[in-house]
Every structure is written in C-alpha cells, then in structure tokens.
C-alpha cells in the first residue's frame, strides 16, 4: 500500500474520533440477506412477481409510455423477429447493430458490428435483461455477447423484453443479481436521451438514442441467463 493511502485513512480515522455523533436512528439501512436465506427470499419474491405479472406489464407499459417509449406486444416468441423488422422499417433504419441473444434478426438490413459499426448504425437492437415497472426502466447488462454501444450510440434503440423479466422496483434487481462481483456494466435506461439545458426546453436524442422502443415477448421464452 502506498504511503498516501495510509496517511489518508489515518486522517479519516482521526477525524471520525473527534467528530463522533450518535446516529438519529438505530435501524439499519437496506439489509443484505444472509446467503443461506437468499434463495428462499428470491423464490418467494419470484412467486410474488409472477402473481403480479399482469399488473407489472401494464404498469411498465404506462410508465414507459409516459417517458416517451413506444411499447409493442406482447407478441409470441415466433413473432419477435417480424415485429422488430416493423419497428426498424417504421423509422427507416437500414444499418443496424444488434445483440438480440436468442432471437433472429429480420432480413433486409445491413448488420454492422464492433465499435465503428455501432457508431455508424441507424439503430441498435438489444435484448434487455430486466425491466423495472415502477419507473418504466429497461436494464441492460454488458457481457461477451452484449456490448454497451448498441443501446447507446445509434439514434434509435429497439429493445426486446420478456414479460417474465419485468420487476417491480430496483431492489428486485439487486435481489436477483448473482452474489459476488456484479457484471462490468449494468445500465438503467428510462426513456430517450434527454436534455433541458437550453431554455428548459425538453429535447431528446442529445447524446444517446432519441427513439426508444420496446417489443414485449409473451410468457414462455427461455431466459438468456
């Protein structure tokens, strides 16, 4: 450990002793469940979410639409490719980057890849790992098959979402992440890229996609996880 770090932490320790204050409340914050009980907790939450599913789907749809996201479906797994194609055609996208993970891409588009591909593409097609109904949020996790740029660089983002992956609140996501080190990137996407920096006028697409659309997939599609 370098000396700067030791001196830094020593200063923090000394300050903590001098300025000690008793907490205004004694309960603990968000509690990490003990590993042994984690599986039980997940199972019961999974059941609760399954019972709530119709509600969660409609809440997600309402909230996503409220922030300017178009939601299509739910469609059967076999119709996803066609629906994605319709979405792309509606926005006149020709060149696409994609990480559909398990779904076939529609015919008739130039499929680009890599960083340069993502920067040149009209649209990015991704599969979402989760969604949060309360805020209409999509959750996209990076891995070997799921780069970060397709949901970020093009002006259009088309997301495929299984309705089983719709959660209620952010705490559900943290509950279902595998214990141990989280993935390198988990991104919450709530509506298009937006700014109000000039005269408080809401403008979309300032850096990320200005168009975000979701294709909901009806129950029964296998998970990618």
């Amino acid at each position: 450990m370098e000396p700067g770090r030791d001196a830094f932490l020593a200063r923090v320790r000394a300050a903590l002793r001098v300025g000690h204050v008793s907490a205004t409340s004694s309960s603990n914050g968000a509690k990490e469940p003990a590993v042994a009980r984690l599986e039980d907790e997940r199972a019961s939450r999974r059941e609760a979410l399954a019972r709530l599913r119709p509600l969660l789907v409609s809440r997600f749809r309402d909230e996503a639409e409220r922030v300017g996201v178009r939601v299509r479906g739910p469609v059967a797994a076999g119709d996803v490719t066609r629906t994605v194609g319709e979405g792309l055609a509606a926005h006149r996208a020709r060149r696409i980057v994609a990480s559909p993970r398990g779904f076939a891409l529609p015919e008739g588009f130039d499929v680009l890849s890599g960083r340069d591909g993502a920067l040149a593409a009209d649209a990015g097609v991704t599969r979402c790992d989760f969604a949060i109904a309360e805020s209409g949020t999509l959750v996209v996790i990076a891995n070997e098959d799921a780069p970060r740029l397709p949901s970020l660089a093009p002006k259009i983002h088309l997301a495929i979402l299984r309705i089983e992956d719709i959660l209620e609140v952010p705490a559900d996501l943290f509950l279902f992440l595998s214990p141990g080190a989280p993935p390198s990137s988990i991104v919450f996407i709530t509506g298009p890229s937006r700014t109000g920096d000039i005269e408080q006028t809401l403008t979309v697409g300032v850096h990320g996609p200005g168009v975000v659309e979701v294709v909901l997939v009806a129950e029964g599609t296998p998970s990618t996880r």
Binding site: G4, R5, F8, L9, R11, V12, A14, A15, L16, G19, H20, V21, A23, T24, S25, S27, N28, G29, A30, K31, V67, G114, R115, A118, L119, E134, A142, N143, E144, P147, R148, L152, V169, A171, F174, L175, L177, A181, P182, P183, S184, S185, I186, V187, F188, I189, T190, G191, S193, R194, T195, D197, I198, E199, Q200, T203, G205, V206, H207, G208
Partner: protein
C-alpha cells in the same frame, strides 16, 4: 474553480440587476419545485425512503475508514486502480500523471461538481491536455468561459440566441436558432470528440464499498459515452460518496431523480464495476478511481457540520430557496450554490473566505423540508453564523450591530419599558402611516419599503389583547373569543 465567495455582496448586486437571469431562474426553479412536489405526492413510500437514505448515509460516514478500505480493495480486485488524494492539487496531479503515461492529449468529461471543485480542467489544460465538457449545459458554459449556475441545470441563465451566437463564433455553426437544431449540432460535434479522446473523466454519484461499483446518474447519455468510448476511464469522487452495500442503491435511485427533477428515474443510471472484462467488446480497458479528501475530513471531525457530508447533490434545496431563486448560483462564488453551498463553501474553504454565505438565508426551513437525506440546513447555517460572529468579535471587537442587538435584548427583558417604547414608536410613526401602513420609510430605512409596506405598531398591542382575552369567561374553557376586533 477559483473561489470568489468573499465578494458575495458584490455578486448579489450584479445578479439582482440581471433581470434576464432572474426570469430564467424563477422559471427553472419553479418548474423543478412543482415537478418534485408532484413526484413525491404520488409516492407514499417517499417518507420511509428518505429515512432509510439518511440511515444509510449515517452508517456509511460513521465507519468511513472501513468503507473506503473495502471500496479500494474491491475496485482493485476487479482490475481497477485506486488513488487517494489528500487535496485538489494531489488529485489533479494524479489525473495528469495517468494522462501523460498514456500519451493522452484530449480528454472528454461528463458533468461532475467534484472536478469543478478541484479545478481539474484548468490543471489539465495547463499540462497541455485539452478537456471537453460533454454535458450540453456544461459544454455551453465551457465555450462561454463561465462557471455552472445550478447543480442540475448549469446553463439555466443562457437563452437559445446566446447559445446559437456562441456556437457560430466558436464552432462555425451555421444553422438556425431552434433548440433541436442546436442540440443536433452539439451531438455531432461532441461525438467526434468522444471518438478521438484518449481519456474519459467522470464524477461519481455513489460508490459501493462491498463490490467496488460506481453509480453515475444522468439524462443525456454523455456520461455513458465518456465511460465507454475512450480507452481510459478516470472517475473522481469525494470520499463521502461511499455507501456500504449494492442493495443500498435501491433506496437512493428511487429518491435522487424525484428530488432533483421530479423524474421517477433519470434517463440513465450506469453501475460500473471495474474496466471491461476479458472478451467484452467495448467499455474502457482501464479504470481509475480517485478518492478525494480536500477538506472533507475537517467536516468529518466537526460534530455540527458532519451531516453536510450526507448530501447527494440533488439540488432540491436550491430550487426552494428564496435567496437562491433571486440571485442564482454564480453569486455564491464557488462550486456549490444555494443552502447546501452556503454550508459547504465556508466549511471547505474556511469561514473567513466566505463570511457572508451563512447569512444568505431567511432560515425559512424550506430546504430542510425537501432534503432527501434530511440535512438540518438552517441549523448548520446558524452554527456557521455563530462562528463568523465569534471570530469577528475576537479580531475586531464589538461592532455597532452587536450593541443594537444587546440593547434590544435588554429592552425585551424589561416589559414595562418595552411597552412604553412600543407606544412611543407608534406615536412617532403615525404621521407617516396611511390606513395603518407605511409605504415609504425615511432615510436609510427607505430600502425596506421599496417593495413592501411596513405596518404601524398596533394601537392595542398583542400582550394587551392576550391579557384581555384570557380574562373573559369564554377563554377559561379553552376557547378564546374571536369575535371582537380591535383595529
């Protein structure tokens, strides 16, 4: 950013004379306030979540040493690098060093108050590294060579015509003055900078000790690009940003955007853990976390001011503050404006370098009501006022004002004299009054009545009415009569 908080009074005069600024501020803060109100009105869990947020911050700070060690360990375990910086200079040197070793000549930046605090841009430019702010508002004020005027909306004081002129002069813009056209131009221009940059610099909203994850909250997507396109990502955090567990984020993510802009969730929240992993296609290959003290340990050692370290920079206290709404952010003379700025600026820089800021408050309490982590801002301002006054007394002795207040205190503790002088005041002021109100006081008091009336002391003062009421029979069963009027 070089602090100029000592000139607060001059700044205030300038700001108050700028009617364009005042109109923009009134519109922006008014909008944020009502959006926040609506967001919490439709959110019954809000109260409980604020309590939880407060508890988590208390816990995080009470064992800050352990949490920082844990955070550093976790970041390094994921292949990241951690740097501890005692002050602004050290932090800037570390970032320059990282840039030099990799031959970086261009860095892109996403919005971060902490980098403003340490004046990182100036330091990098000085070292020959060009820095481009990529948040649209920050980009605009960087072009205009100004500082941010609001935590959330840094360019709130600029009109579209001013922005278009700026783009024309500095970047050769030739489009129209419409907001979408200006945004589209900025997108294209900045995309080029993202692609060329050798380093991306971001702030941090929360850092998770247990996993080494940093959370960055934004609406534009420029922070995502900053952390994804350049090969090196440097994140700079004040040491108070640490929270113990990943699950704690579930609490903060639900109140931060609601408090700031009334959104349920900001457009983007990135949770990043170390650099890109093996076989991943994109994301920075190298990740550095700079943890900054820069005066924070002084606040930590101060039982009164410690809670100001719980601030999550949502900006809610600014929007409701009557003083901020009139004078805007620049007047505060440093990075942090509004009620929290009036606490942090003297706390970080020393009271003598911002002696007027603790007094820039009506103590109405609106800030404490909206603060998502329940910082008792008015009390902290009172603590700082007491220190400023004590210091003045020590160095300069008593001034005229302190004699006035002492005389006032003496008068208030002598009821019969107080009553006599109130009568005298009414007698003296009566010739100036019309319908019981004075609309122009003479001499040095004239400023008071320029925008409001001064009431004439009542013919029958409060204490007399009180005594009369309680001597009436109806008052004894606890229902004082309210029918008679004495005006």
């Amino acid at each position: 950013m070089k602090p100029t908080s000592e000139q607060f009074r001059e700044h205030v005069d300038e700001a108050l004379a700028d009617w364009g600024l005042r109109a923009a501020l009134a519109a922006a803060t008014g909008r944020f306030v009502s959006l926040r109100q609506d967001a919490f009105a439709a959110f019954p869990e809000g109260g409980a979540l604020r309590d939880q947020a407060r508890t988590i911050k208390e816990e995080a700070i009470a064992r800050l040493d352990e949490h920082l060690e844990q955070l550093a360990f976790a970041v390094e375990a994921r292949g990241g690098n951690v740097h501890f910086a005692a002050d602004a200079d050290a932090a800037c040197r570390m970032v320059i060093e990282i840039a030099r070793q990799r031959g970086v000549t261009l860095a892109v930046k996403s919005k971060s108050m902490t980098t403003e605090e340490i004046a990182l841009n100036e330091a990098l430019e000085h070292a020959g590294i060009r820095v481009v702010e990529t948040d649209l508002g920050e980009f605009i004020i960087q072009l205009a060579v100004e500082g941010p005027s609001h935590l959330i909306a840094p360019a709130v004081h600029k009109t579209r015509e001013q922005v278009a002129t700026l783009f024309r002069e500095k970047l050769g813009y030739s489009g129209e003055d419409s907001v979408p056209a200006l945004c589209a131009f900025a997108r294209e221009f900045l995309r080029g900078e993202f692609v060329r940059a050798g380093m991306g610099v971001s702030g941090v909203n929360f850092a998770v000790a247990e996993t080494g994850t940093i959370a960055i909250v934004e609406n534009e997507g420029n922070a995502r690009l900053t952390t994804t396109l350049p090969p090196v990502h440097v994140a700079i955090m004040g040491m108070e940003k640490v929270v113990p567990r990943l699950a704690d984020l579930a609490v903060f993510l639900r109140i931060l955007a609601r408090s700031a802009t009334g959104q349920k969730m900001s457009s983007y929240v990135s949770l990043l853990t170390g650099p890109r992993r093996e076989r991943e296609e994109d994301g920075a290959q190298e990740f550095h976390l700079v943890i900054l003290d820069n005066g924070r340990s002084r606040l930590l050692a101060d039982p009164e001011l410690r809670e100001s370290l719980y601030c999550i920079r949502c900006g809610a206290c600014l929007n409701v503050c009557p003083v901020y709404r009139a004078i805007g952010g620049h007047a505060y003379g440093w990075v942090y404006p509004g009620p929290i700025g009036a606490v942090l600026t003297p706390a970080y820089l020393g009271e003598s370098r911002a002696p007027d800021l603790p007094f820039a408050s009506t103590l109405c309490g609106a800030c404490a009501d909206v603060c998502p982590v329940k910082i008792a801002l008015p009390h902290r301002l009172l603590d700082l006022r007491a220190r400023v006054v004590a210091e003045k007394k020590r160095t300069k002795g008593n001034d005229a004002k302190s004699y006035v207040f002492r005389a006032w205190a003496w008068l208030l503790t002598h009821p019969s004299l107080y009553r006599a002088s109130a009568k005298l005041a009414r007698f003296a002021l009566k010739p100036m009054a019309k319908d019981g109100r004075i609309d122009a006081l003479p001499g040095r008091l004239a400023g008071w009545t320029r925008t409001r009336d001064f009431p004439l002391p009542a013919a029958e003062p409060f204490h007399a009415r009180w005594r009369k009421r309680w001597s009436q029979p109806s008052a004894r069963d606890g229902t004082p009569s309210t029918t008679e009027r004495t005006e």
